[in-house]
């Protein structure tokens, strides 16, 4: 079986963590491994995996491929895939690669499956594992089509480190695109509340924006407490859809956006721990917690969703009081 590891490089031509993990997935299949890298520069990335056991390194490099555009990335991937002639193509499920993976598969006449959390050879066949219905069920797939292009999720495979000196054959595909990347918009470093590398996820639920005892909303206090806990723990911030929707209407918490949403129409982040506050714990939200290891929740309702086997610990308490005290203790 011929396997192609296909990935974009990042700053300095190096490979990111997700790419190195995808290489780990590709290597573990056995078979004849070929490497295909694309980006502004590729040599440094190739050198970082030079002795991984690949029989050939291909690259597409240059200014045209420096930024993440569908047209240029798809052209690069198509050229690399055709040069490699692989049966199975493994890409990382980064935003950049995910933008083009299926389109490239269509160009190659390949089958495509994305966001795999498992990829292995069983009984002589390649078997892919992925989630369906927003992480509610997991399936194992085989394809008797070649080539087969897959993307693999981060956090599921061992990264590869195999430094040396790689000899890369550079290809020069033609690029046809009318798109220009004009920049990256990120919150200021001290205002960034989405932290994928954090050990803990803090989820703020709709209860923070509701009227409290006495019929009064305590939004300023809620903001202060949530941001205080974020600052004290450097955790990542998520939210239920209902609280984000309130924030979007100019109510609730102004620092929350749809990017913070966790659940059915939000993200499914990976963190070792998660603390849900003022959140109901119903299924459309909890599907986003699939990859959170240890789960605890604070809610005034002792029979909320978290109590039904969705959390390890439910504290039936006032989150305003508890979080205030937690922040004091952690300072």
């Amino acid at each position: 079986m011929k396997v192609l590891f296909l990935a974009h490089t990042e700053e300095g031509g190096l490979l990111g963590k997700a790419a190195l993990e995808a290489l780990g997935a590709a290597k573990a299949l056995g078979g004849e491994l070929t490497i295909g890298l694309y980006g502004a520069e590729v040599q440094a990335g190739a050198d970082s995996i030079a002795v991984c056991g690949a029989v050939k390194f291909y690259g597409v490099a240059g200014a045209d491929f420096a930024t993440a555009r569908y047209g240029s990335d798809a052209a690069a991937c198509e050229a690399l895939a055709k040069a490699a002639g692989a049966d199975l193509i493994v890409m990382p499920a980064t935003a950049r690669a995910s933008r083009v993976a299926a389109g490239v598969a269509m160009r190659l006449g390949a089958a495509v499956d994305t966001r795999l959390t498992g990829l292995a050879v069983e009984g002589g066949k390649v078997v892919a594992t992925r989630w369906f219905y927003r992480q509610r069920m997991v399936g194992k797939i085989e394809r008797d089509v070649s080539p087969w292009l897959v993307t693999v999720d981060t956090g599921c495979f061992e990264p590869v480190s195999a430094p040396g000196a790689a000899s890369v054959e550079l290809l020069s595909p033609a690029v046809a695109t009318r798109t220009v990347v004009t920049g990256i918009k990120s919150p200021a470093a001290d205002a960034q509340t989405i932290r994928p590398e954090a050990k803990m996820l803090l989820v703020a639920g709709a209860g923070w924006g509701k009227s409290q005892a006495g019929g009064v909303k305590r939004l300023d206090e809620a903001s202060q407490l949530i941001l205080g806990l974020l600052s004290a723990t450097q955790c990542s911030l998520g939210s239920s859809k209902s609280l984000v929707d309130q924030s979007g209407d100019g109510g609730a918490l102004p620092f929350l956006t749809h990017m913070h949403q966790v659940g059915q129409t939000g993200s499914t982040p990976r963190h070792q721990k998660g603390l849900a506050t003022c959140c109901h714990g119903e299924e459309p939200h909890v599907v986003g917690w699939r990859f959170i290891g240890e789960r605890r929740a604070i809610n005034l309702d002792a029979s909320c969703g978290w109590a039904q086997g969705k959390a390890d610990v439910l504290y039936v308490a006032d989150a305003f009081a508890v979080v205030n005290k937690v922040v004091e203790l952690l300072k």
Binding site: R99, M106, T177, H258
Partner: protein, 267 residues
């Protein structure tokens, strides 16, 4: 630029509050009692539809919805969706489950788009969800774009701003809570939407009645779109055990609870 044709691709998914259980049938896995489960328009496709309508108002454009699903279920879903924003619908009668093949789905949808009367690809924007709440591959839109010859594509979109000359800027979600900002010379393009920034529109019965005048005939003349799943085999599909033994802490003091949580965070 005026007169953009904004074609939204969408399907239906089970209402998220439903309990979903996979079963294995003669044609592969499916959901237990799938045809009985209440359905909704895929949430991200819904966001794409609302953004399409919002854009169409600004550029004097027109919104089409090309929907693939069992037509009986589509009819139920349209009763609600039709009241949201004005659109014309083209219906493909076929399976909408998460276990169908993305490439087959894309081919059916692309064929449906090509058949839209008066289609002008120079003014075409394909909108849809960046992934579905069923299969969740984020693959179908890209493949539809390729089949239609569109090589300017964007995924995880939360914003589009169209200039008078038809060029537009787009914000796409990338890692770490950031956005990539791009500009494109204009249509045709494919945009896979995340949530965008618009709330769900309130129901408007007048919009609903106007839409349903066209939706019912469209349902009646739906194009069959069987999806065979050739070459795709499921070894297994299951619901992993996720039930935890929840310890419920009641009647403890705020201080004790806070101390326990702080210790857990530090550990």
């Amino acid at each position: 630029m005026k007169g953009l044709q904004i074609v939204v691709l969408g399907s239906i998914v089970p209402d998220p509050l439903q309990t979903l259980e996979p079963i294995v049938g003669p044609t592969g896995p499916a959901l237990k009692n799938e045809m009985m489960l209440p359905a909704v328009l895929d949430p991200w496709a819904g966001h794409a539809l609302y953004e399409a309508a919002n854009l169409a108002k600004k550029v004097e454009g027109k919104v089409y919805l090309v929907a693939l699903g069992p037509k009986a279920k589509l009819q139920q879903v349209m009763m609600n969706v039709a009241q949201k924003v004005p659109f014309e619908i083209s219906v493909l009668d076929g399976p909408a489950g998460g276990f169908t093949d993305a490439a087959e789905t894309a081919k059916a949808l692309a064929a449906g788009v090509e058949k839209l009367p008066g289609l002008d690809k120079s003014k075409l924007l394909i909108f849809g969800g960046w992934q579905s709440a069923s299969r969740g591959t984020g693959a179908v839109l890209q493949m539809v774009g390729e089949l239609l010859g569109i090589t300017d594509q964007f995924q995880g979109v939360d914003e589009i701003k169209v200039a008078d000359d038809g060029s537009f800027t787009v914000l796409e979600r990338i890692e770490g809570g950031s956005y990539q900002q791009s500009s494109c010379q204009g249509a045709p393009a494919v945009l896979g939407w995340a949530t965008g920034n618009l709330p769900e529109p309130p129901n408007n019965p007048q919009v609903g009645m106007a839409n349903m005048r066209f939706i019912m005939p469209a349902l009646a003349k739906a194009t069959p779109a069987p999806l065979a799943g050739a070459g795709l085999h499921y070894q297994s599909v299951g619901v992993p055990s996720q039930r935890r033994e929840t310890r419920i802490v009641k009647d403890a003091s705020v201080d004790d609870i806070a101390r326990e949580i702080a210790d857990w965070i530090r550990a």
